[in-house]
Amino acid sequence: MIHSPLILAAGQGPFEATLNAYVILSAVLFAIGFFGVLLRKNTLVIFMCLELMLVAATLGLVAFSRYNGTMDGNVFVFFILTVAAAEVAVGLAIIVALFRKRQTIQVDELDALKN
Amino acid sequence: MFDFYFNLPFWLRSVLQGLAVIFVIFPLAGACSLAERKVSAWIQGRPGPNRAIPFWFAWVPVLGPLLQRLGVFHLMADGAKFLFKEEPVPGHVNKFYFILAPVIAMIPAFSTVTVVPFGAYFDPSHRLIPLALANVDIGILAIFAVSSLGVYSLILAGWASNSKYPFLGGVRASAQLISYELAMTLSVIPVFLWINAPDAPATLSLATVVEFQSKPGFWGGTWFIFAMPLSAIIFMISLFAETNRQPFDMPESEADLVGGFHTEYGAFKWSLFFVAEYSHMIVGSAVFTLLFLGGWNPLPWLSLAKFAELVHLVDQPLILGLVSIGIFLGKVVVLLFFFMWVRWTVPRFRYDQVMKLGWQKLLPLAIFNLIAYAIGIAVIQK
């Protein structure tokens, strides 16, 4: 059996996919997304990282839902997905509009509020 | 016999199934290309490919010339040619994605096949068991989900080619595929609304759809194409668009884009795109058959079960299975022919017309269709 270091960190010995593992994974994914948002200057990549954070959240929700035997989490994932889709659509539209106006989407270059 | 198969280890079964997919779909797609050439030739009043024949086969008295006239060997010759041709990779491309794109094209094309049921047989307890490689409960969703990934191959191919026309082709492909996915999805919802009556076990399984169309009674035995013609039309049109078939083959329209997204491709990589396109066609046709044409049921109001009784095949699972597969494949083949038929009938749209049709015609129509059927079903099933 292959043990990923990540999973090994969550428990001792041969690991079973417990809720903890999913939560940790979710947290790590969220952290990675967060790092991305902080570190990257490219609006598009930042946006992708945002999506990554959303997905991390859904992963947690699904895992909780699964381990708790309720539907609530799953239903919320539905909402999240819907909102995410809407967000992406609007966000990308804004980015495109921005690019058209400024010819750049680097956040450090987008430092003027007007024009 | 089936036991033997089911007793095999899971991984071996997976491998076997995978191989089956490849070895069935690949030649089938190839045959489609031949069929396409033949159909186009016949429609245009010419004989079509009828030259190639291996020298050792030319001696066979009747069969040889016949197969030659049918152009069967062109299929092999083409295949061999694609395999052995030099693989050109232009210097200006992004090599990684350039090579990746045709591979990606294959993945959704082949994986969707796994969830398509293609026949049925009666088990010893006279239960109708659908034949599928993976009979999942959410079949249609799986198909939509996985086939929607096909757009990546086009986008990547167009972008990685790093030249003008492929890029335009890729852009067109992505926009078109995303646009028509909406109408397509919406058009099938009435079908599942219908079959998922409040008291029925909720499912998205395609086998269930077929099962529903094999029930006794008028509404049970009817095919959905009669019950929901608008859905069927919208689905069919969207299917054309999703598979990049004429009149929707804007991503590869040679008149204005040379070859579209695959302009820079040649040899085997190019053939992969084509196999993928034909696989999409096959899967699309199969799904249409399942959803609207009663699947493996021979005729409307004549379900496979009744048919089996009529011809006394209930106890012959193997034969009945083959018969049902035959019926199913027959419908698929007719649909494939229809694809080709349309191709040589309807001229290609302009790109703005494609978009207009997708967003301004089909999408409202699908929504209207959905609402109407939702109300209708609600009223009926109350």
Partner: protein, 179 residues
């Protein structure tokens, strides 16, 4: 000129729905699907070449089998893709056609260049070069695609015209004309 604007007739519902039109289109193509083939299966069946067809340029001989070309090189001059190359030469005095004085030593037409325009035939003052009915000209090498003089004569054969311009000249020279 009076311009009469014509209003386009508004489309009917069925036309706007488009599907009936497609259906009728499909009907048409289906009809053709079962119609017999109209094409010619080329290597086995050959088309009937119409008169005036401009095939491979060839050199022809007169009804007595004599060379007509006098290597005036007008064809070489007029040839748009410069496919013709002639090496002129003097006809030896002991030849039967010595009175023609000049004839081609070599006459090459590069069929890789030839565009079958027929200007050579048009310009030929001796009516020695003709674009005849030969239309398929193939070879495996570039050299094979250059038609040399003997090949050109082989392709061209003999044409039954009755000009005999040089015979008349010779007869006049032999007869002479007294003052």
């Amino acid at each position: 000129m009076a311009v009469i604007p014509l209003e386009r007739k508004p489309l009917t519902l069925s036309e706007r729905a488009y599907l009936p039109q497609i259906a009728s289109g499909l009907k048409t193509t289906l009809k053709h699907l079962f119609a017999p083939n109209v094409t010619l299966e080329y290597p086995e069946q050959r088309p009937a070449i119409p008169t005036g067809y401009r095939g491979v340029p060839t050199l022809v001989k007169d009804p007595h089998g004599r060379e007509k070309c006098v290597s005036c090189q007008l064809c070489e001059f007029v040839c748009p893709p410069k496919a013709i190359r002639i090496t002129p030469g003097e006809i030896p005095p002991d030849s039967a056609t010595a009175h023609v004085e000049k004839g081609p030593q070599a006459f090459d037409i590069d069929m890789l260049r030839c565009i079958y325009c027929g200007l050579c035939q048009e310009v030929c003052p001796e009516e020695a070069i003709f674009l005849q009915q030969q239309y398929s000209m193939v070879g495996y090498t570039r050299e094979e695609m250059v038609n040399h003089k003997d090949r050109l004569y082989e392709l061209g054969g003999t044409l039954p015209d009755q000009h005999f311009k040089w015979d008349k000249k010779k007869a006049a020279a032999e007869h002479g004309n007294a003052h």
